[in-house]
């Protein structure tokens, strides 16, 4: 069969071919990220991993607490404010607690937490591993018989899978408090009704579904961010420090896009 190079294609099909090539490259990358993740996960169990996992829980989890609290508080406050005004117009302000709690626990909590951790910890992971790659530190691990995937990637995966749900729970909690503050304290909604609706509207499934999403996002963020840093030296468009910078940007953008795509898929499976 005759194959056509981009130059021999009819002019009008060239944009389509370019989109197709890009799509194939994307699928290739996703496959590579999946293999990378599986290989790193297989190396999680090792006697020397515990201290490294604990340190990464501190880096990814504990150090993200302030930003999660801040974003969670204001998200809840805005949600309380907007929802209250909308409910007043239909005379259903009693449902404020239900709307705030369910929006946060089912959707906003896991998604915004994951995006915030991507921005704070995910970018740092890519930059750190990328610099270690271009300065031959990862090669040095190889020469010392230290598996770089076990040493650098596996602890981060475990730490993220532990940290994401906990931070999501924290986000939900502070968000509900933020909704209380804006809806009840500032706008004058009934405090008892708010708390009662929060308690009665949520089921255990809502919370576990939120945690499942958080776990899925943890896997996506660490796999993408570690992969981008680990292969920063393989970029075709740049070298050295610039490659690390571009890889960091790519890690954040790809992670955020995949979080939203995965959110839809997981929601449709769980609902």
């Amino acid at each position: 069969m005759e194959s056509s190079s981009p130059q021999t294609l009819p002019l009008w099909t060239r944009p389509l071919a370019a989109v197709g090539r890009r799509a194939i490259r994307w699928v290739n990358h996703l496959g590579a990220v999946a293999i990378f993740f599986i290989l790193a996960t297989l190396k999680v169990v090792h006697p020397k991993q515990l201290a490294k996992i604990a340190y990464q829980i501190y880096e990814i989890g504990a150090r993200s607490v302030p930003i999660i609290l801040l974003v969670g508080l204001f998200t809840g406050m805005v949600l309380g404010l907007q929802t209250y005004h909308a409910l007043v117009t239909v005379g259903a302000q009693g449902a404020l607690g239900t709307l705030v709690a369910l929006s946060l626990v089912r959707e906003l909590g896991p998604v915004l937490t994951a995006i915030m951790i991507t921005a704070r910890a995910g970018s740092a992971i890519t930059a750190e591993i990328g610099i270690q790659r271009i300065s031959e530190q990862i090669d040095a691990l190889d020469t010392m018989r230290i598996d770089p995937l076990r040493f650098l990637v596996s602890p981060r995966i475990v730490a993220a899978v532990i940290s994401f749900p906990i931070l999501t729970a924290l986000f939900d909690l502070i968000g509900i408090l933020g909704g209380y503050f804006s809806g009840v304290v500032l706008m004058g909604a009934n405090a008892g009704a708010y708390i009662h609706r929060v308690q009665t509207s949520m089921e255990l499934k809502d919370i576990t579904d939120g945690f499942i999403k958080a776990g899925v996002f943890a896997v996506i963020v660490t796999a993408v961010c570690c992969y981008q840093g680990y292969f920063a030296h393989m970029r075709e468009d740049s070298r050295g420090a610039k490659a690390v910078g571009l890889s960091t940007t790519a890690a954040v953008v790809i992670s955020c896009v995949l979080i939203l795509v995965a959110d839809y898929i997981v929601t449709s499976l769980l609902i």
């Binding site: 020397k48 750190e128 031959e136 530190q137 040095a140 190889d142 020469t143 010392m144 230290i146």
Partner: protein, 286 residues
């Protein structure tokens, strides 16, 4: 007759369109200090990275104790690698770890030694490398020479049987340079390890080397003892000797020295004249 420890058979390596190694054949014997010399960019570090397995040849074979590397099982490879240590040209120290943690890293991650034993071994290397004041510092807080010594300490802390040194003395003052070369020679005599050096320090490295390999124009053009190298007739040696002679002439030649003295006098004269006139800024304001 025993097989050489490492043997390259027609090894070729290219990066894109640039061929760095072209059908390289060489042998490295166990228990010797072998130095690879060559001009900058001649592929010395690339050759070293093939030995440790960081790079794979495009064609040709690398044999480890007579066995092709690709046929060695993972277990055998691990056992073999356990005996090899590599010191990178740019040190490759972990910049987020202190000097102590950098040196202790291979012991912590690949052995089951107790914390006190690791500390004892690390302290011993630290003393040896005169790094006692730097143990708690990060690599970025050290001079280039100290970083080099920290990398050397890390390479030797596991008591390896084969050590690959990529420019171990670059950036060192003459006293420390001699100390490092002396230490490599002393270790070799005491433990009988195999040292493979890449170095520019010609002819200093000749004193500790049993064998010299010369890389020139993408292939090995000489393998033999330092004494044999003196009788070697090749454009490579002409280049090396010429560059050394030029450097010596630049530093010691009476004409070069007189030129330096003239330039110095000229500078002094200009400075004195400027002082007599006062500084330009002062003239403007005065």
């Amino acid at each position: 007759m025993n097989a050489p420890l490492i043997e390259f058979q027609d090894v070729t390596k290219s990066f894109g369109t640039k061929t760095v190694l072209d059908r390289v054949n060489l042998q490295i014997n166990a228990g010797e200090v072998t130095t690879i010399i060559g001009l900058s960019g001649s592929g010395k570090s690339v050759l070293l990275k093939h030995i440790i397995g960081l790079l794979k040849p495009d064609s040709g074979r690398i044999l480890f104790q007579g066995q092709p590397l690709e046929e060695i099982t993972t277990g055998e490879r691990k056992t073999g690698l356990a005996r090899i240590s590599y010191m990178f040209q740019d040190n490759a120290l972990f910049d987020s770890l202190s000097v102590y943690d950098n040196i202790a890293l291979p012991l912590r991650e690949t052995t089951n030694l107790s914390r006190s034993e690791i500390s004892r071994r690390v302290r011993a290397r630290v003393e040896q490398m005169e790094l006692a004041d730097a143990v708690n510092k990060y690599p970025s807080e050290l001079s280039g020479g100290m970083q080099k010594r920290a990398a050397l300490a890390r390479a030797l802390v596991t008591d390896p049987r084969i050590v690959l040194f990529d420019e171990p003395t670059s950036g060192q003052d003459p006293i420390r340079k001699n100390a490092i070369l002396g230490m490599i020679a002393q270790y070799q005599r005491q433990i009988g390890f195999t040292a493979i050096l890449v170095s520019h320090e010609i002819p200093d490295v000749y004193f500790i080397s049993n064998r010299i390999l010369a890389l020139y124009d993408r292939s090995v053009v000489f393998q033999g003892t330092p004494a044999e190298l003196e009788d070697f007739d090749h454009p490579f040696l002409d280049d090396i000797i010429r560059s050394l002679e030029e450097l010596r002439r630049e530093l010691t030649d009476p004409y070069a020295r007189s030129r330096f003295a003239m330039a110095h006098r000229e500078l002094e004269k200009r400075r004195t004249g400027q002082d007599a006139r006062g500084l330009p800024g002062e003239n403007q304001h005065g």
